[in-house]
Amino acid sequence: MISKVFLWELKSGGKPYIMLLILFLLIYVATDYPPRKGTGTYYEPYVNLLSALDIGWSINEIWWFLFPVVIALAVLLFSYDIDRGLLRTYMLSQASRTSLFIGKLAALFIAVFIPLVVGGVLILAFADPTLFLSDPLFVLNGLWLRLVGWALMMYVMIGFSVFAAVLLKKPLYAFVTPYVVFYALESARIPMSIRTYIPPDSFIQFQFITPGNPAYLIEHDLLAAWNFNWPCIAVATALLILSYILFIRMEQS
């Protein structure tokens, strides 16, 4: 039943087109090469230039466009007000609330994650070999790290937005609340996004990259250096559990 719910939710509501939108934004944003970012000063080659050479390797570079899409999808999938009037009520009424919740959650995750995987492969294949003349297959070595980072970032987003969508019955409130919460927390200097810098493997060939330099981090050292925001992942988990409890107790009409 879970797979049925999953496929139904993935196909409905124009989600393939939302996936294309995410793919477009990802490629458009992440292939933003440095010379366009304005004037650069070269007084500190070790610090400024590494970021100047960067092709959006920072995990939270895609946060600003991904978050609204995830909230909108969560509201479309989980909002009580939107859900109850739809024709799928009959089909979904045969599924248990648990499989409904898991299927919807899986559809939400996959609908956002597939374009991220496709876009990630394309960006790395486009950017790295042309920039650094490295082997395209070698370039894809670092892809899994980026995907893990993106998945964790999406996990936090999904935790907050699903909880808002389940708790608040009006879709508009459910859409605005996660924004306000994140804005308030970031203003209070409680970082909520996953901030991780993943340098390309080919940075190694520059002679100014020495141990102790941020760009020296390569795959094996990276996991140790990742400053994952564990508290915010824990909060997202708690919110997902809470929204599951709320969802299975929600009255069926």
């Binding site: 490629i27 007084y43 050479l53 490295s134």
Partner: protein
């Protein structure tokens, strides 16, 4: 019906990727300027920092290196090397001067500047040279063509094929 839908969606995906790349190419690259200062180290007889700066250039970009030393008898040895490639351009500037070079292909270039003092330097002269960079950017047509021929035209072809096969938009 399924084949038509698959063709339609595949074509749309290719079109979206191509559009993202083309829109990317249409944004004019910002003019890149910067400067760096080199200090003289008397013991080494050279400027103390062999300044290494990576610069991202696309095909046809013109990089100008302007050298302005405080003392005229300093020779600057400038090298521009493409990372991961054997391409190299070098120039010696005696005293004040400028050097322009065009990037042959898109990529990351590493600029190295090294200075040597010629002859005896009088007491009380500060040895320092300032190096400034200027990049005259061109339209990034190198992304435009692969996007057009690699994705947009095949994508449109697939969409047209799906409409022709299915009769209407699936």
């Amino acid at each position: 019906m399924t084949v038509t839908r698959l063709l339609w969606f595949l074509g749309l995906t290719l079109l979206v990727i191509g559009l993202a790349l083309i829109l990317n190419a249409f944004i004019e690259p910002a003019k890149l300027t910067g400067g760096s200062s080199l200090l003289f180290n008397p013991e080494e007889g050279k400027l103390s920092v062999a300044d290494v700066m990576p610069i991202f250039l696309v095909q046809g970009d013109e990089l100008t290196v302007i050298v302005d030393p405080t003392y005229p008898a300093i020779d600057h040895y400038i090298t521009l090397k493409k990372a991961g490639s054997s391409w190299i351009a070098e120039q010696i500037l005696e005293g004040q001067g400028a050097w322009s070079v065009k990037a042959p292909t898109r990529g990351v270039y590493v600029l190295t500047v090294e200075g040597t003092v010629v002859g005896q330097v009088p007491e009380g002269v500060t040895l320092r040279s300032s190096i400034s960079l200027n990049v005259k950017s061109v339209f990034r047509s190198d992304l435009l063509e692969p996007a057009l021929y690699g994705t947009i035209i095949p994508g449109l072809a697939l969409i047209v094929a799906s409409i022709y096969l299915g009769g209407k938009k699936p």
